[in-house]
Symmetry: C2
Subunit: 699 residues, 2 copies
Amino acid sequence: MLEGFFQPSAIAVVGVARSEGKVGHFVFDNLLDAGYPGTVYPVNPRANEIHGHRCYPDIASLPEVPELAVIVVPAPAVADIIDECGVAGITSVIVISAGFKESGPAGGALERDVLARASAHGIRLLGPNCLGLIATESQLNASFAGTMPPTGHIAFMSQSGALGTAILDWAGSEDLGLSHFVSLGNRADLSEADLLSAWADDESVKVIVAYLESVASGTAFLEAASRVTRHKPVIALKSGGSDAGARAVSSHTGSLAGSEAAYDAAFHRTGVMRAHTVQELFDLATALSRQPLPAGQGVAILTNAGGPAVLATDACERAGIALASLENDTLERLRATLPDAAALYNPVDILGDAEPERYGAALDALYLDPNIRAVLVILTPQAMTDPSSTARLLADRVSKTSITTIASFMGGHSVAEARTILRDGDIPVYAFPEQAVAVLGAMGSYSRHLERPDITPPTFERDRDTVARLIADAHSKRHTFITEESASTIATAYGISVPRGFVAQDLASAHAFAKDIGYPVVAKISSPDILHKSDIGGIAVGIDTPQELANAYETILGKARSYAPDAVIDGLHIQEMLQGKREVIVGVNRDMQFGPLVMFGLGGVYVEVLKDVTFRLAPLDQPEAREMISEIRGFRLLAGSRGQKPADLDAIADVLVRISTLVSDFPEIVELDINPLMVGDSGEGAIAADIRIGIGGQE
Amino acid sequence: MLEGFFQPSAIAVVGVARSEGKVGHFVFDNLLDAGYPGTVYPVNPRANEIHGHRCYPDIASLPEVPELAVIVVPAPAVADIIDECGVAGITSVIVISAGFKESGPAGGALERDVLARASAHGIRLLGPNCLGLIATESQLNASFAGTMPPTGHIAFMSQSGALGTAILDWAGSEDLGLSHFVSLGNRADLSEADLLSAWADDESVKVIVAYLESVASGTAFLEAASRVTRHKPVIALKSGGSDAGARAVSSHTGSLAGSEAAYDAAFHRTGVMRAHTVQELFDLATALSRQPLPAGQGVAILTNAGGPAVLATDACERAGIALASLENDTLERLRATLPDAAALYNPVDILGDAEPERYGAALDALYLDPNIRAVLVILTPQAMTDPSSTARLLADRVSKTSITTIASFMGGHSVAEARTILRDGDIPVYAFPEQAVAVLGAMGSYSRHLERPDITPPTFERDRDTVARLIADAHSKRHTFITEESASTIATAYGISVPRGFVAQDLASAHAFAKDIGYPVVAKISSPDILHKSDIGGIAVGIDTPQELANAYETILGKARSYAPDAVIDGLHIQEMLQGKREVIVGVNRDMQFGPLVMFGLGGVYVEVLKDVTFRLAPLDQPEAREMISEIRGFRLLAGSRGQKPADLDAIADVLVRISTLVSDFPEIVELDINPLMVGDSGEGAIAADIRIGIGGQE
């Protein structure tokens, strides 16, 4: 895919300036300098030749139809050039020119026009307002970034052109190999999802990295990323730009479900690894482009110095990485070859005077240990150390194993050559052991993602018609919230337990129902016109006797009539009162990009003060819901401890799955809180004590 | 201080090997290569000359008394050399030789012998088992680390020799200037505290950095570090080595107060900045050695690209750094000089085509803004960018301001020269904006430490005699815990409120006391021989009536007699029952290095499951205690929210201060838990409902 962009047969550059120092001139020069083997045609009606290349007045005059056009003319002239391209049959266009959406409403109109014309001609368009692109294997530099990075297997897209330039420059000085660089610009047409798909099928690409400030389309990103990560790692550095202001925040969930939570959930769902700094992004990309993923847990550290091994061990602990226990056979092998003073247990410290052969012998022993899936080799340059020979030996050993091996050769000049040897031998090498450990941690997370099956679609019976009817009903009344009684009905339609209840239209039937379910009960005014019942004194809890119920009946109906004389009163809603169970909260907020974001947390202060909550994108299945439940800090309160019985975790997970299905089935539901969900001991189930459903789309 | 080590008049190297590749030979070569201007005498009875230098058979034969001796002979021979040094009048000795404490008990005995002889002669000793030391200004390399780092103002000590070597090597390649490097080795005599004190008074040292796996003496470290940080920054990378196994963990506090918590508290108390990676350590050291501390809050970001500014803004948010609001005057100044498309508000984006002068004009405006105390200048190498000229211009501007200025010039080759220019102009420069922001965050924390006054000693009245008597009493009975009644008395002696209580020896007096304080009451068996009262059914709570009290009296005394027939029974302890107040926990655990570590947290699951606690070293004063209270995650539960009244924070702080004084006054107290401390609304006070005091030192 996108071959027209990355391996075009010939290229037209429209708007090549005659004078140096102009963008159009840079782009043309860069194309020539990079050694692109196809023909590059400069197009400029006011020039006859540029650098000895014949210049053409327009696309129509070209001697052949190039596959790719790079447009660098001023913004208002772009649309007509698109038409020229379309008429000529060009299908891939890069618009480098700025002055579009980023510059204000007038530019936005220009951009829409350009996109419309491109679509009409079937043209795919990169930009506008971008740096262009680079494909190192094709020797193609269709950008105004001067630096051509070293060839490699990392494909890099950037929503920031300047950050892209800086990273290309840095890649050159760090000998970091890239296969592609794409500056996304305004993403009028091509977006991150298109590039993910294109690079998924490109064998020169081993790792995809992206700098993103947002995604152009959440749905497209989720679809493409989920597919790509199944066979190729994707790492994103996602920065800033809160859109909290644009979000409904009337619910508990809404107030906690910021855009960052949604992006984290999207990355979790799709298996995209998230880096937090540029350094982390490329540390990880380098490792993934050079080494296989660890085939399970279990890391060994091999070192010639104690201090750095302690740093690495600390970092492992912080990252939750388990150091492997060595088999007795391994210890025997190590003992047979290492000096007496060596530390045989992991970390394996082969001492400050370790020569290359000692590294080799220790590595041989570690590679044979079935508990070890990854090895971190640490070297510090001490008096007797030979970093380069050690590096050569490592490269030889690593070429013969499938066990993930990464290195931290600490120091500067003394290890510079050794680092180059390691990189040439496809061993990722880092200046500090902490970096190497962070990389191992991320590789491990990605491995675990690959083991995770896709979400299983829900199979439970559900009554969609009832829900559709109640939502339509609310829409017709221009309500933004479903009434409490309807919310209960909706929950029931999706198999979620709610307290037993009955709308009594007279005191006698209230008494009869209360006797039936047993005291204590709760009484609430039932009226489609009164949403905030407690504000008008429309709720009584803890009603213990028929006499108290009679009092509540009179008081509540009286208050309703006096505070809301025009309200339609359906009666008094009598409910069973749930007591002595654990309270949790389940919520949903619809993210503008990624759709329903499901929240789980302990109730009350755990949510409001401690913000001990976790998020996933809908839909969920039972394993995913169980994972959510277990990752809150307060999980031990549910799992049972100190003689307490565990909560019914299956029931909570079931509610999460059903709720996530409900909000997936009905996009009209924009937010939902079950607060609290009352949870019994294991096997006793869970009951949604209070459900609040907000709806949109009623315009 | 330690001039004999860092500026010795002459140096003897004892044990210079004739053959290359031996440690003794390396050390001698390094001393000569570094250009040390004084005389270096090789000492070796089996050689006449080394490298054309006359070799002496022993110390006594030297033509003068050198100030410093460097010993590299085998471990068993070291003690006699120390004697030779002592007899000759040498006062500073470095023992590089290994084979001491680190090698086992026999080596430990050798080390004690060496230390004893050194002490007898009044010799200060560095090592043994160390790399030696470097002082760049003296051109002194008395180490077997080959690399002499660039001269600078960062003094670096390392508990790991190999890590030290690696960092020296790295310093060379990164152009990182050091004033000193000291390899601490086994710290038989000189430890981190001695070096802190020595470097505090050395004007060539602007920043002290340390790699530590432990401290040799907590007391000495606290004393030296507190003093030094008042006028010179200290940064520590403290790694691993949990000593949890060696600690009493019978209390709640003990189970949470790991060695890491103690080190964090020690660093907080002393103002030592803690780095978590080597990179962080030197990023920060570089900044502190080149730029003044920000004189308050308020950071401005000046950039030629949006993406990196977003990364920097994100990093500021994560680090809790406030971006300054610009004054209207500043905005006017910026508007007058910048292109229309520039972003004037912080971050100030002067656009991709920013030439050096535009950076200069924007910087001039920002420096005039009273809200700005630090500026981060970001540059990405774009088509029109001139990094080196921009760097020169920045260096000029920065030399004329006292506002903290740091830079992130992103990229590789394109900005390499510019980075050198910035460093030469004392502007710290980082490859990525996130690094620069982390540095600003740490500088800000250190500034706040400097503003914090020293802890005020407590002035409240306290009855030490009673406490001493009760501890002595418990000691005499070989108890490891103070009885509950004595613990209450101790609390009262230090002005901490406890529930009203009375040990009734008959039912009538129990009734009288309960009537006096009012029901409900709590009844507990009172016996010095029964510590775990609830285990034998020796506690009844919620006693509402005289009849219930009579029942409890009979039941509890009956159970006590049947379960512990030999126990001395003092009677039934009747206490007021505290209800409906907030519960918090105050605890103390005595750290082996740093002494009493005071913990504060919310009670119950907040401590046990969520581990929402904070630690400080004793003693505390009111402001420090208030800071503790406010830094737990659940602070809002105490501060009052959603219509709730705030808790009596002053009363909690008062208890923290009093408890910290108690455990400082009585080192015999090894652990203490007040769990719960019942806290009323503001002004209502706090009552220690249950106090548990563990004592040691009774052997």
